[in-house]
Symmetry: C2
Subunit: 144 residues, 2 copies
């Protein structure tokens, strides 16, 4: 469904947002440990998110990553997913056709659109703030 890069990206974003809300700037090592991901690979994902203005990065000692709470309320899961995996998941055909719509549907089209739309809506309606917040009030986990 989502690539590993994307999964790491979501976990990292949730962790950074949560730390930020506590006034703590999270650095790479800290993030990777807390979401149980390979450090160097996670660095790339974080950089990708930073390039898309989905989080702030700061170099140097005391540096690290931040997402202001106000920002976290504006960022949807769909933004993160799209920044890393692209928009294939939102618009793509189940059978991989470059073009597939009601006027020239693949055999799965009519059954698949509503699934895809549900997923899209869920991702577009879920903010990063929500995920980070719910993590606090009723704990959800970022590592096993």
């Amino acid at each position: 469904m989502f690539s590993k890069a994307c999964q790491y990206g979501i976990k990292a974003s949730v962790y950074v947002a949560r730390q930020s809300s506590l006034g703590i700037r999270a650095n790479l090592k800290d993030i990777a440990q807390n979401i149980d991901s390979p450090e160097a690979f996670t660095a790339k994902v974080l950089h990708q998110l930073a390039k898309n203005n989905l989080l702030e990065s700061h170099k140097g000692p005391t540096g690290g990553f931040m997402i202001a709470s106000a920002q976290a309320q504006k960022i949807n899961l769909s933004d993160i997913v799209e920044a890393i995996d692209g928009d294939q998941i939102f618009n793509g055909c189940a059978l991989g056709f470059p073009r597939c719509d009601a006027s020239k549907p693949c055999p799965m089209h009519s059954k698949f659109v509503s699934i895809r739309e549900n997923l899209k809506k869920m991702l577009q309606n879920t903010t990063l703030h929500q995920l980070a917040h719910e993590l606090v009030e009723e704990p959800t986990f970022l590592k096993r």
Copy 2:
């Protein structure tokens, strides 16, 4: 969402079922041409489906692949997907955790379960016969 192997598998199954309903046994070359897929790779996928009893294969001249209409009514899309991609799509966690449920949820869990269930139900409730049949009464396409 689905691997390429799985997409080929679905397309091939639909094509074979359709040909079978016309009394025609489809061979590899014919299938690959009509679903616009690499021949050798498709052979592997077909073999995988045959191993799972989702279609019959016959060697030798006039050989090829078949799915009896009665069978096609019993085969669900979920059977095909599971035979090729496994059951990760039905039960897997959005963030990739090996275990993720209400008692120990990942941050996306509560939002994701209904999406996953919808997809599962759709695949379980759609028969191969349906897809192959709809292809006839209101054409859907297997290649572009």
